[in-house]
């Protein structure tokens, strides 16, 4: 049974996960994810300094300190980027390691002071500890989550346009810088309240993983925000339960491991964007291209003797283009199934009446496609579309007529056979 303390921790971690997921989605889309990481690391010296000043473990004061140095870190990143030629990634690297190094040095110093001893417990902020969470922490997390949720609900359209196209947003009169600052503020608040539970090292993962996973499942911003929150919530809850059942495991890494599972499943199994779906559709496209190549070969072999259509031997087709015996056999079997060709008594292949029409159309589109590509150079579509030539149907009719005229004058316009 779940006791009261576990319940508190579970609710806190789930809320934290959900709001990280929500804010993280915008952070990832606006390419602020690494800035979140820098912020989390830069928060450590603030925690330590607040402890040194107060001489006692006061959570809200320490989080306030964390918030301040976190923002300082982000400001330094932005300052380095704008006033020097240091690029953003290098600036983040500098801030992250310098602030984190300072934080580690400070916390070791505090730990060695006999006056404080180990009761400072600063090391739990490095990798996180959910077990110590109390009701007041849950209220804090709840308040921060509510703040982020309301801000995103109210300014959804503004965040959306700035995240997607900040230049356009500025031209339209939106204060992109201010809206970006609000986003950064949400990231900072979420990171800071997450520090005690997840730790400075792993906090960025809780921002990034739910968002990156959610992106696999949807192509819309609204659903992505919802799904990212849901993933964050699940990761927080599952991670906490796992961390609670193995008392020596720090919470941060366990939560991140739970996130990794969600991410891996998304990466592999998501429809359309997942690796498996992509592989399958790539294979389908390759198959279609092979089938079209076979159709073209059949036509080319018969082209000189048209309108007569004779059966073709397997080896004759095989030698026409350099392709694999098995692949060709598979393609021919498929075409036979589709009724494009029929097998004669001696095992040769004869185009059916329907097959003749289909093959002529395949060749027509392909030759128009080749000619179009040759004359206009740039092609916008995919390889599959270029190969199939289906885009030809969408071109202006006069243009297609000119192309067809050109094919006819060079004697390459495909004509039906004996039909």
């Amino acid at each position: 049974m779940i006791n009261y303390n576990t319940m508190i921790v579970l609710v806190g971690a789930s809320l934290l996960g959900a709001s990280s997921g929500l804010v993280g989605a915008f952070a990832v889309l606006r390419r602020r994810a690494l800035a979140g990481d820098a912020l989390a690391h830069a928060a450590l010296p603030g925690l330590c300094l607040a402890f040194l000043v107060l001489g006692e473990r006061n959570l809200s004061a320490m989080l306030f300190g964390a918030f301040l140095t976190g923002l300082l870190g982000i400001s330094v990143v932005s300052g380095l980027r704008h006033t020097t030629r240091i690029k953003e990634d290098a600036a983040i690297g500098i801030v992250l390691s310098v602030f984190y190094g300072a934080g580690i040095a400070l916390s070791s110093f505090i730990q060695k002071q006999t006056a404080f001893g180990s009761k400072a417990g600063l090391h739990t902020y490095i990798l996180g500890k959910t077990a110590g969470m109390i009701l007041a922490d849950v209220y804090l997390i709840g308040a921060a989550s509510l703040f982020c949720l309301l801000l995103i609900l109210v300014l959804y359209k503004e965040f959306k346009v700035v995240a997607f196209d900040s230049g356009f947003a500025s031209v339209q009169g939106w204060p992109s810088v201010l809206i970006d600052l609000l986003l950064m503020a949400m990231i900072a608040v979420t990171v800071v309240i997450g520090l005690p539970a997840v730790g400075v090292v792993m906090m960025a993962a809780l921002l990034i993983i739910p968002a990156a996973s959610a992106r696999f499942w949807t192509d819309r911003l609204g659903p992505m925000l919802g799904l990212s929150s849901l993933f964050g919530l699940t990761i927080g809850a599952v991670g906490t339960l796992m961390s609670a059942s193995f008392s020596r495991l720090p919470a941060g890494p366990v939560i991140v491991m739970a996130g990794t599972i969600v991410f891996l499943v998304s990466l592999l199994a998501a429809p359309r964007r997942g690796i498996v779906a992509r592989q399958l559709s790539a294979r389908r496209e390759r198959r279609q291209m092979a089938l079209r190549a076979t159709c073209r070969a059949l036509y080319e072999l018969l082209e000189a003797e048209l309108p007569q259509v004779r059966p073709l031997e397997f080896d004759e087709i095989l030698s026409h283009k350099s392709w694999q015996r098995q692949e060709l056999a598979a393609c021919l079997t498929q075409l036979e199934k589709e009724g494009v060709i029929s097998r004669t008594a001696i095992g040769a292949f004869l185009l059916t009446e329907q097959g003749q029409k289909q093959v002529v159309e395949t060749v027509r589109l392909r030759r128009l496609s080749e000619l179009y590509q040759h004359q206009y150079g740039s092609f916008e579509g995919t390889l599959d579309e270029l190969d199939a030539g289906t885009f030809i149907e969408e071109l202006p009719r006069e243009l297609v007529a000119t192309l067809e005229e050109e094919l006819k004058s060079s004697g390459r316009f495909p004509a039906a056979g004996a039909v």
Binding site: R85, K157, D165, G167, S170, G173, D219, R220, S378, E380
Partner: protein, 277 residues
């Protein structure tokens, strides 16, 4: 940003013309604009006036500052000196009159938005803070999509479109802004002939509806076919004005200097122009 949709909605929704009283102030007045990146000058003392609605091509070699000129006018890059007036007013007071098509490369095509979402962003300006696009905006966005011939793709994610379709969507978003001046940064870069035709037919239509359109253009061969005016740029303003007066071998020589390959293009462009004259 508190104005309502109805304020400037033309009588017929498909009509792009809007109000048509002739402006007394010049459409665009760029005065002594200088822009530098990391102390290196990109634009130097640009003086440019577009008194009446025109279809203007901005042309010049790579690195001439064509995109930067548009961005400087729109306040997207800091201006080191000089100023910009739109219908005689500061940019910040005239934002509702401006439509913008950014450069392809500046867009994250993997962003989770649909084609309709993107076009709806064109209506955000008239909506102002907090208000969400509703049925009226949706209908208008669909009309803009129909105008560029990609209405059937409204529900697709933008990354699933071809380059030409993507450019049409961004054109539709600019149309949805119901602007008086449109700024377009290479709207036909990397698109095929069919899309280029659609884009310039539409620009021509905007021009006939008394709108001003400024287009960063890379293809010298088509300058005289598409534009009324041309702005020849090479860090400084080489020349600007009607194509037939400004698009001359002397000016091209000045803008492009000794860049031979490009001069051949230009030579061909001029021959095309002479033939059509």
């Amino acid at each position: 940003m508190t104005a309502q949709v109805g304020d400037r909605a033309p009588a017929s929704e498909t009509d792009l013309s809007g109000d048509s009283s002739p402006p007394v102030q010049p459409v665009l007045d760029v005065h002594d604009v200088t822009v530098a990146y990391h102390r290196k000058p990109v634009l130097w003392d640009i003086d440019l006036t577009i008194p009446t609605p025109r279809l203007v091509g901005i042309v010049g070699p790579n690195g001439a500052g064509k995109s930067t000129l548009i961005k400087a006018i729109l306040g997207l890059v800091p201006i080191a000196s000089g100023g910009v007036r739109i219908f005689g007013e500061e940019l910040s007071r005239q934002r509702r009159l401006i439509g913008y098509v950014p450069q392809r490369e500046s867009i994250d095509w993997d962003f989770p938005v649909s084609v309709l979402d993107v076009v709806l962003m064109g209506t955000y300006g008239e909506l102002g803070w907090l208000r969400r696009p509703g049925r009226k905006q949706r209908a208008w966005a669909m009309q803009c999509l129909e105008k560029v011939g990609v209405a059937d793709l409204a529900r697709r994610q933008i990354g699933q479109l071809s380059g030409g379709q993507q450019q049409r969507v961004f054109l539709a978003r600019a149309l949805a802004q119901r602007a008086q001046i449109y700024f377009m940064d290479e709207p036909t870069a990397g698109v095929d002939a069919a899309t280029e035709q659609v884009v310039f037919d539409l620009l021509r239509e905007l021009r006939q509806a008394e709108k001003t359109v400024l287009v960063v253009h890379h293809d010298l061969r088509t300058v005289s076919r598409y534009f009324d005016d041309v702005v020849l740029l090479n860090m400084r303003l080489v020349a600007s004005g009607p194509v037939e007066q400004v698009f001359t071998p002397q000016n091209l020589q000045k803008a492009y200097g000794g860049r031979l390959a490009i001069l051949e293009d230009a030579g061909e462009a001029l021959r095309v122009q002479e033939r059509s004259a």
